[in-house]
C-alpha cells in the first residue's frame, strides 16, 4: 500500500448533511475547523478514533468515508 494516499468523502457527506460546516463537524468530533479542512484536503490523516467519530456522525461505515486513492 506504500505510496498510495488516503482519500475521503467528507466534503460530499457534509453537503448531504445539509451543508454542515467544517466548524460544526469539528466541534462534534473534537477537533478544530482547520483540522477538518486539512483532512478534507488530504493534508492530514486523522487518528483511528477521529476517523470513526466522523463516520459515526454521518451514519456511515468507515470505508465509505475513508479509502485508498484509486
Amino acid at each position: 500500500m506504500t505510496g498510495k494516499r488516503i482519500t475521503n468523502t467528507i466534503r460530499t457527506l457534509r453537503f448531504l448533511a445539509g451543508e454542515m460546516t467544517q466548524a460544526e463537524l469539528g466541534e462534534r468530533v473534537g477537533v478544530t475547523r482547520q483540522t477538518i479542512a486539512a483532512i478534507e484536503q488530504g493534508k492530514y490523516s486523522p487518528s483511528l478514533e477521529t476517523a470513526f467519530r466522523i463516520a459515526d456522525i454521518f451514519g456511515k461505515p468507515l470505508d465509505e468515508v475513508f479509502g485508498w486513492e484509486a
Partner: protein, 140 residues
Amino acid sequence: MTFREKIAWLTLGGLALAFGPYFFMIARLGNHPWLIGPASAGLFIAVVIILTIGMTIGSILVALSNVRDAERPSDERDREIARRASSIAYAVLIPALFVALGTLILGLGQAVLVNAVLAAIVIAELVRCALEIRGYRRGW
C-alpha cells in the same frame, strides 16, 4: 490560520529578530575582551528582555484576534505537528551541541562555548518553529 500556527510564526520571527543582531554583534566582537564580561552579558540580558516583552505582547495580540481559537485546547493534529517538529529539532540540537562542545576542545574559550551552546538552542528552536509552520501549511 490557527492560533498555534500564528504563535509559531511569532516565535520564529521573534527569535530571528532578537538573536540575529545578537550573534552578528558577538561575531563582530571576535576575541575582544568585552566578549566575556559586562558588555556581552548586558547585550544578552537586553535581548532576552526584549524577546520576552515582544513575545508576551505579540501572544496577547494574537490571542485577542481570535479568543475562541486561543482558548481551545490543542487537538490531535496540533499535537502530531508539534511532536514531529520537536523530534526533528532535537535531532538538530544534539549535533549542534556537540559542535559547541568542540569549541572547548579547540581552546576557543568559555565565551565562545557559551555563545555556541546558545546558538545551538536558538537554531533548534528556529527549526522547530519552521517545521511546525510547514506542518500546518503543507501537512506531513
